[in-house]
Amino acid sequence: MKTIVRMALLGMVLIPFGLAAEETPQTMAMEVRIGSYTPDIDSEFGPQDEKPFDKIFGGDSALMLGLELDSQVWHGFGSAGLFGIVSYGYVSGKGIAAGGTKSSDDTTMSFLPLTAGVVYRFDVAAVNLGIPIVPVVKGGLSYTVWWIRDGVEDIAGYVPPSGTGAAAGSSGDGSGKSVEGTGGTFGFYGSVGVHVLLDFFEPHTAKVFDNDLGVNNSYLFAEVAMQRVDDFGSDKSFDLSDTGLFFGLAFEM
């Protein structure tokens, strides 16, 4: 604890005189993110039903890599702006052969969440008190594009049994046409995170970073992202909701 206090005090001395005094204008932020994602697809099935996602993917999580860009439109008591995130990840498993055994065929489900909304960074303590911690909250809408591939890496297709169609609880209209395993699902996005200001630890490097590249502040961050992605409660959509932990690097420019 004493160490933290000393570091904070040191930061209060270093940042005003060594780093921030000649900062370049700051209008945007960029984040490189990595985290896990496990959609709640099996939630639409009852407790006694077979869970297809778990059966095929074994409850695996998708490793999501993402890029976020923020436009910081307001600087006052903290900063506020708009953000957009593009991420990508996939899960892979084995197809199911006759008798319920696992086949050698791979099958994958890929996710491309596109998220946009508003972001607020409480950087008052960092700016005024030299405490290198910046809480960040975000909220917005998400649209997750997804696609499923079969054993030969084609987009998967499903032909509903004729005469059953949607009434049988399956996709499609019973016309015998293949329904492709691709689509998109709308939802809400929210996150809370803590950003640790790295400039505090390397003020000289941070100053050079700013002068040479225009990067005002650099952060390491951890963020809990809550997604409720099910076409706003639609029964006819995947439930791609999840609450996951993301880490990354953030740069204010």
């Binding site: 052969a97 054993g151 949607a166």
Partner: protein, 473 residues
Amino acid sequence: MCVNIAAVLGALAVLASTPASAAISGFQLNSLEGVGDMEQKIHDRLKEELKISYQDCIDYIGFGTSQHADTVEETTVVEEPTTVDHGSNEELTESPADDPWRSAEEGKADDAGDPDARVLLTWSVSSVFNGYDYAIKIGSCSDTGSLTDEESAGCTYLVSRTDLTSFTNNELFIDVLDLIPDGCQAGDSGETGVYFFLQLGEDTFTKQVEVVKFQFDFDPPAPPENVTLDAGEENIQVAWDDEKNSETVEYVVYWYDDEFGEGDLDQVDSKSGLSAKEYQITGLELGTTYWVAVATEDDYGNLSDLSEVLSAIPVSVDDFWEYYNKSGGQEEGGFCFVATAAYGTRMAPSVQLLQRFRDHVLLGNSWGRTLTDWYYVHGPDAAAVIRHSPALRFVARVALAPAVGAAWLVLDATWYQRAALVAAAVGLLVGWRALRRRAVRARSDEGVDSGAPGPFPAPGVQVAGNSDERRSA
């Protein structure tokens, strides 16, 4: 110690009397083409890499197309090399052999009958060699030799000492049998050099030598081992081991819906150039039995014997999408239309107008097709949301109104309707600009700087202010 000094002095004396050979300045190998029986027959491996595989050898010497039937171990190896008759003009009379991995003696028998199998090599040197003599030897010669050395069993003259009168595109015909002196002897490998000597008069210190080396390898790689087949849906995954080949090799996978052997490889499906030890055969029919085998190919193009020929039957496999649906999942995927959802029915006039616009305008150009493709990917999801909400359907209709208007303007509007719309648009633009000018003038009259910043201070200003505050603290 005295002995060592003497040895060194002796070596120096030898070096002094035998001038070191330098590469020929500006030497270029321009091209290599087949002539005579070799015309249109020479492989790229020889033209581009100066390499000859066993199959190439068979083709060049004239055994004809052949197939692997036996292993290398079963061939006869001749211990003593046989002198080749380069000048024979006899016609090739023997029929192609069933087994290409034949003995050298058999090869010799046919060699003698195909004298017109030659390659034409063209070469150039710098014109600074004006006045030089040249000679060209072939075989296992020494590059320290002279232009007038006696021929030996392994080194003969292609061109005896001659005045060098031309410097570019000099032609040199080489008998294929000179390139492959021991014939197509399975398991053999080595190289044949073509030695170009240049020298000014009798001054051996001006001698320069260039060696063009043709390499041959008649030793096939070992076939893959432990081949396994995993049947999937319309595909078979093939995997194998290869512990025996230390050289760089690639693999060829063969498959067919009937049993096959070494003699059928030109009739079955195949995939060559594989560097990984696995391959997925796709496009197969469910329930059909397929036979699969793998062979190894070295960088000379020598093919190994086939691995064991195995069979498998592609089976039905549920990918996640199928399994999810069969489990009763409700996600619909597929496609539907925003406009249909917004207007409630596909028969609505606006929907039909938009469909005609899609068919007649958008699909007629690349950007329109791109836009349509994008819409077909993302439209269904928007429609799924809109369909069940009257409020969202209203919003969607308002949002689609400009698109419907544009479609009507392009497809159905008469010329005077279009003119009226253009006039209205111009009027709106002019009116908006007039109103804006009036507003700016009014602010100017009131002393307000029209260039003032907006409600939010510039972020840079804010940061600088904070910095100042911190500095003063």
